[in-house]
Structure formats: structure tokens, C-alpha cells
């Protein structure tokens, strides 16, 4: 099976970053079409497409769109999540760097459908190269009348602002991102059902639509070709295509767009095959449970991966070969979450640090057999006990690694060194 390109269809066209070339390839025709439809028709088209959030959670996009109140008693906002921080993921980077107008068109359509007059793209501070491309593209769109007052004479107003982050993984979480846009520390808020959804009370307590870059980039093609067309790709519940950012021990790392439901091993082949002997795959960014090689006979869609005990997540597809020591790798994972925990919820703030300490004891040769169960116990204490999913995400990979690679932990504790002899010293260290 080859790649199936929807988002990447025109990405290799020279100059597609410019408005002129984008328009030659059908650019902004979806916006014109949407402006001729009623708002509900646009939402219904997204519903028919079955598009699900590509940021990690896989929540149906249309439910968010439809959840925005249909009156204008308050200002409404669109918030585009371009704070790509999930380790192993680099799809949004490429979508912004190489196809900025597709995203802008998607955002404007979302703004029209949700009665929003203002949109913010929250780009992480490190992403200055994509941000400059976006800046240029937004300026072009303003000049051509696709943004600003009275878009294309339709009477619809929409302003799009870039808001740059300043270095925080946590800000990729939607409610922490809202705090960050409002000029606060990037800490999450209480979630539904304990608090209203962002679609009711988001930015400045006004209705806010929050979607990922990849989700919004899908919108122009859906409006142009119809929701049914999009739904004809992929599986019944996971429609369309998905970009996987393949990295690690493969011969041709990079972004690959494939139909939902593509077998995992085919994606590996697309990426040039594994360097060395496959040991494990992390299919959806660092937050999802690890999948050992013998369980890699699975299809890449939300349901199949869930049945296999992991998740599609953000599509950050990391491939590990047999030179990787799982214990050291997981120590690095735990250190990441300990560093990025925002400190709001005690189980996550303390638990992530304790896990690093226990890993360090094991790596230093002083591990005890009961440390394995202690790690599992801490995972249970964190999982589901924090405001946002960062805590859960810190627990899941560790728990899965112990489930699948317990023998490596036991070996390390018993012998004081790694089971993987070829493992260079490089995955030790860090904070």
C-alpha cells in the first residue's frame, strides 16, 4: 500500500506556500463554498466526514463545532493548537512550514461555522521557522481579502492572530493553552463535567473552539469534496487519513500520510524499514503505551490500536530496535514528564519526580525487586488523579513498559546493569 495524500496532496508543488500557487491548486475555493452554505451545513459536512481530533484525544471534531452556542451574545473564539510538543511528533511543523494556506483556510471556515470573529494560532516559541511562514501567509491572506473585515464581500469578519509560546509542553493541553493565551502561567483548568467545556466557557469565559493544526488542515478538503468523500477513506469509525511522524531506528524517517487502518508494518516499510531488529514501537507520541515487536501486527486506527492496548495519540511514531534498553529509555521518558509537569496537581508533580528517583536508583545498580511494583503503584496513584492528561501520560508508558518488558527491569535490578549489552551509554543522563 502506498501513501494516501489528502493533506499532503499538493505539498510537493513548488511555491505552494504562496497564495498565488495555492489558489491555482484550488486554494480558498472551499472558503468560497463554505461562505455560500449556512453555518449548520458546514458543521453537518464536518459531521458527515467523521473527522476526529488529530491532536491526540481523537474527539469527534463536529461535536466541538456544534457545541458552540448559535447566538452572538458573547464573542466566540477559534484557538488553533500549534504547540506541537509531544515527543516524536513533527507533523504540524511540516504542515505549517510547507502548506500554511491550507491551515489558514481551515481556520477561517471554522471561524465562520462557529460565529467567531477572532482566531488565535498558538505556536510554540521554538517553532520560529514555521511561525515566519505562517506570518507571511496570513499577511497575504489579509491582502487578498480572505481575512479581516467583510471577507470576500460576504459580510463575515474574521481576524487571525499569531500567539507565540515560550517553552512549555503543558501549554499543548487545551485549557493550559487558554491560560497561556490569556497571559497566565500555562496551567490546566478543571475539566468537564466538573466545569463547563471550552465550547461554552473557554478564552475569557467565552465560547471557544479548540482544534489541532492537522484537524483544521483537513477542513478545506472536506468542504471542497464533501464529508461523504472523506468518510469513504479509512475505517468506519476512524475516517480519512492520518499523518504519522516516523522517527527513530528507521531508514527513512519523516512524515507519512496514510489511510486510517493501514497495517503498522506497511508504515514501517514506507519509512524504509527498520534499522536492525525491531524491538518495539511507540505509535502515538511518548504519552501512549509502548507496543512490543510481537504485537505490531495491528492496523493504524483509533479502535485497532486501542484494542492492542495502546493509542493513536498524535501520530508520533517512534521505532526502537534491539540496541535500546527499555529501562534507560523509560527513565528518559519519566524525566521528561517530571520536567514538564506544571506543578498544579500533587500526584503528577510529586509522582513523576519519585519515578525518576526510583529509575535512577535502578540505573545506579541499587535497585530492589519491589521497585518494579513500587513504580506500578505510583502509576496508579497518578493516573486519573490530575486535572489534565499529563499525569495519565506519565503513567501509561511506564506501566506498559513493565507489562511488556518486566524481564528487562528484573535483569537490570538483579545484575546492576542493562540486559542490552550493545546499548551505548547515550540514553542515560538527562535531568
Amino acid at each position: 500500500m502506498a501513501e494516501l495524500k489528502v493533506l499532503f496532496k499538493d505539498i510537493d508543488v513548488p511555491g505552494i506556500q504562496t497564495l498565488e500557487v495555492y489558489e491555482q491548486h484550488g486554494g480558498y475555493s472551499a472558503l468560497r463554498k463554505a461562505l455560500g452554505m449556512t453555518r449548520q451545513q458546514v458543521i453537518d459536512e464536518v459531521k458527515a466526514s467523521g473527522l476526529r481530533g488529530r491532536g491526540g484525544a481523537g474527539f469527534p471534531a463536529w461535536i466541538k463545532w456544534n457545541g458552540i452556542p448559535k447566538d452572538e451574545s458573547q464573542p466566540h473564539y477559534v484557538q488553533c493548537n500549534a504547540d506541537e510538543g509531544e515527543p516524536g511528533t513533527f507533523k504540524d511543523r511540516e504542515l505549517m512550514l510547507r502548506h500554511p494556506h491550507q491551515l489558514i483556510e481551515g481556520i477561517i471556515i471554522a471561524g465562520y461555522a462557529t460565529l467567531s470573529k477572532v482566531g488565535y494560532i498558538y505556536i510554540r516559541g521554538e517553532y520560529t521557522e514555521p511561525a515566519r511562514v505562517m506570518r507571511r501567509a496570513i499577511d497575504e491572506a489579509y491582502r487578498a481579502g480572505y481575512l479581516g473585515k467583510n471577507i470576500l464581500g460576504s459580510g463575515v469578519d474574521f481576524d487571525l492572530y499569531i500567539h507565540m509560546g515560550a517553552g512549555s509542553y503543558e501549554c499543548g493541553e487545551e485549557s493550559a493553552m487558554m491560560s497561556s493565551i490569556m497571559g497566565e502561567r500555562g496551567q490546566p483548568r478543571l475539566k468537564f463535567p466538573h466545569a463547563p467545556l471550552p465550547t461554552i466557557a473557554g478564552l475569557w469565559n467565552c465560547p471557544t473552539l479548540i482544534n489541532n493544526v492537522e484537524t483544521l488542515s483537513c477542513v478545506p478538503a472536506i468542504i471542497r469534496n464533501g464529508g461523504a468523500w472523506y468518510a469513504s477513506m479509512g475505517t468506519e469509525k476512524s475516517t480519512g487519513t492520518k499523518i504519522f511522524s516516523v522517527s527513530g531506528h528507521v531508514n527513512k524517517p519523516g512524515n507519512y500520510e496514510v489511510e486510517m487502518g493501514t497495517p503498522l508494518m506497511e508504515l514501517l516499510e514506507l519509512a524504509g524499514g527498520v534499522k536492525g531488529k525491531l524491538k518495539a514501537v511507540i505509535p502515538g507520541g511518548s504519552s501512549v503505551p509502548i507496543l512490543p515487536a510481537d504485537k505490531c501486527d495491528v492496523n493504524l486506527d483509533y479502535e485497532s490500536l486501542q484494542a492492542a492496548g495502546t493509542m493513536l495519540g498524535s501520530g508520533g511514531f517512534m521505532v526502537l530496535n534491539d540496541t535500546v534498553c527499555i529501562v534507560k529509555f523509560m527513565r528518559r521518558t519519566a524525566a521528561f514528564y517530571a520536567h514538564e509537569s506544571c506543578g498544579k496537581c500533587t500526584p503528577c508533580r510529586e509522582g513523576t519526580r519519585w519515578m525518576v528517583k526510583i529509575f535512577d536508583r535502578i540505573l545506579a545498580g541499587g535497585g530492589r525487586m519491589e521497585d518494579i511494583d513500587l513504580l506500578l503503584d505510583i502509576c496508579d496513584q497518578i493516573d486519573g488523579r490530575s486535572y489534565c492528561a499529563l499525569g495519565d501520560a506519565a503513567a501509561w508508558p511506564i506501566r506498559a513498559s513493565i507489562k511488556h518488558f518486566r524481564h528487562e527491569y528484573e535483569y537490570f535490578i538483579k545484575h546492576g546493569h542493562s540486559m542490552v549489552e550493545a546499548q551505548a551509554e547515550h540514553s542515560v543522563g538527562g535531568r
Binding site: E86, R93, G125, E126, I162, H163, P253, S286, T323
Partner: protein
């Protein structure tokens, strides 16, 4: 190595008296930029992150307490609020840093593709450890979390650019290039980020306002918020 500035050993900032109006150091350009950016949000407090980026540029690459005080003053909030925000985000430098920051990713993919080797190589080459600045103030070396360019691992951020698929040889060549270059500095990174917030018409507006101010005041830098 002994002369290297260790970030953690840098003297604590002196206390600032909030009752005194702060000494304002934003240039006229910075004032104009902040004015435009404030209009992007329903209240000026929301311009906090961009304001801190402007301050980081105006104060030469890091945020001393005076910079936080000035941001607080210009956004009509307290020093404590600004410090709370500034200390949350890793890209705001709370201590002086070198002219150029080398931020080496050692997160998951980079860790298995040689990120630590690049970090060790740089430590050896520069004679400092991660988190330190070279005695001549040229380079600060930092170990960072995922930069999300894993397809090009190992990756390093230098100012407003990423450098990927690094090898020790590539790093050596890059260091030579950076020594004699005005590109990719800490100040330039802050400026790039500020400019990304401003639309084309806002940037033109600012140039017009600056030209007018220049003509009116005989070229003096304004200090008014």
C-alpha cells in the same frame, strides 16, 4: 572551566520596590509594538507573553527584575504576577546567558539517535557543562526537551533556527560559523518571535509612527508608555 558562569550560582536578584515607578528602558519601537499587540486581545494583561518577549530583546537576551517590573508597569499588573509567568516558561531567561544559545535536544528519539553524543561533544569542545556559559560570554549550552523535529534527529536549536541530522563534524563547522555571525543570537530569537505577532499593516504602522516621532522630537528615543 572554573571561570564558567554556572546558571544556578548566579547571585539572586535584588528586591524591587513596587511603590517606586520603575526606570523604563523600552525603546520607542518596543513601546509601539506592545501597543499594537495589546489590541489583539480583549484585555492588556493577555499581552503578557509577547510583552516578555519584547522585554527579553530590549534587555539584551534575558529578563532581569527591572525588565519584569517594566512589563508589570506597562501591563498594569504587579511584579509578582509577571514573575510568576516569566518563571513558568523555559524560554524566558531569568539569568544572563551567552550571546548564542545552543539548545541540544536529548529527548526520546534524539536520545537513541545520538543526542547525548552531540551534547557531550559540545561540552568538550566548549569546555563547559550543559547549563553553563563560556567565559567569553559567546555560548550557553543547554539540554532541552523535545524540539519536535525528530525526523532529523539529533536536533539542536540555535536562536531562530533548527539544525538537524547533527554529527560532531557538522557541529564543529557550525560553531566556527556562529563565532563570526550576527545570526541566530538570543536577542535575534526574541525579535523574530515579536515580529511574528505583528501583521504587515501593523509593522508599516509602526514604521510610520517611528518616522513621525523621529521628525517631531529630533531623533530622541521616547520613554512614554
Amino acid at each position: 572551566m572554573s571561570e564558567a558562569i554556572r546558571l544556578s550560582e548566579y547571585p539572586r536578584a535584588k528586591r524591587i520596590d513596587e511603590r517606586q515607578p520603575p526606570e523604563l528602558r523600552f525603546s520607542e519601537r518596543a513601546v509601539q509594538e506592545l501597543e499594537r499587540i495589546k489590541r489583539h486581545y480583549p484585555n492588556k494583561r493577555a499581552a503578557m507573553l509577547p510583552a516578555l518577549w519584547i522585554a527579553q530583546r530590549e534587555y539584551g537576551g534575558h529578563l532581569p527584575p527591572e525588565a519584569l517590573m517594566e512589563v508589570a508597569y506597562r501591563l498594569g499588573t504587579s511584579y509578582a504576577v509577571v514573575e510568576g509567568v516569566a518563571t513558568f516558561y523555559t524560554m524566558y531567561n531569568k539569568r544572563p546567558v551567552g550571546r548564542v544559545m545552543l539548545e541540544v535536544c536529548t529527548n526520546l528519539t534524539c536520545s537513541i539517535c545520538g543526542g547525548y553524543e552531540i551534547l557531550r561533544h559540545l561540552e568538550e569542545k566548549l569546555g563547559i557543562r550543559a547549563g553553563e556559559t563560556t567565559p567569553d560570554g559567546q555560548f550557553t549550552l543547554v539540554e532541552v526537551e523535545c524540539l519536535n523535529d525528530c525526523g532529523n534527529a539529533p536536533v539542536m536549536q540555535v536562536g531562530n533556527r533548527y539544525f538537524g541530522r547533527l554529527t560532531p563534524e557538522k557541529v564543529d563547522a557550525l560553531l566556527e560559523e556562529l563565532k563570526n555571525s550576527e545570526e541566530h543570537t538570543v536577542v535575534q530569537l526574541a525579535d523574530t518571535i515579536v515580529q511574528c505577532h505583528l501583521s504587515e499593516s501593523e509593522r508599516q504602522d509602526i514604521e510610520r509612527a517611528l518616522a513621525k516621532a523621529q521628525a517631531g522630537s529630533g531623533g530622541q528615543d521616547g520613554q512614554n508608555g
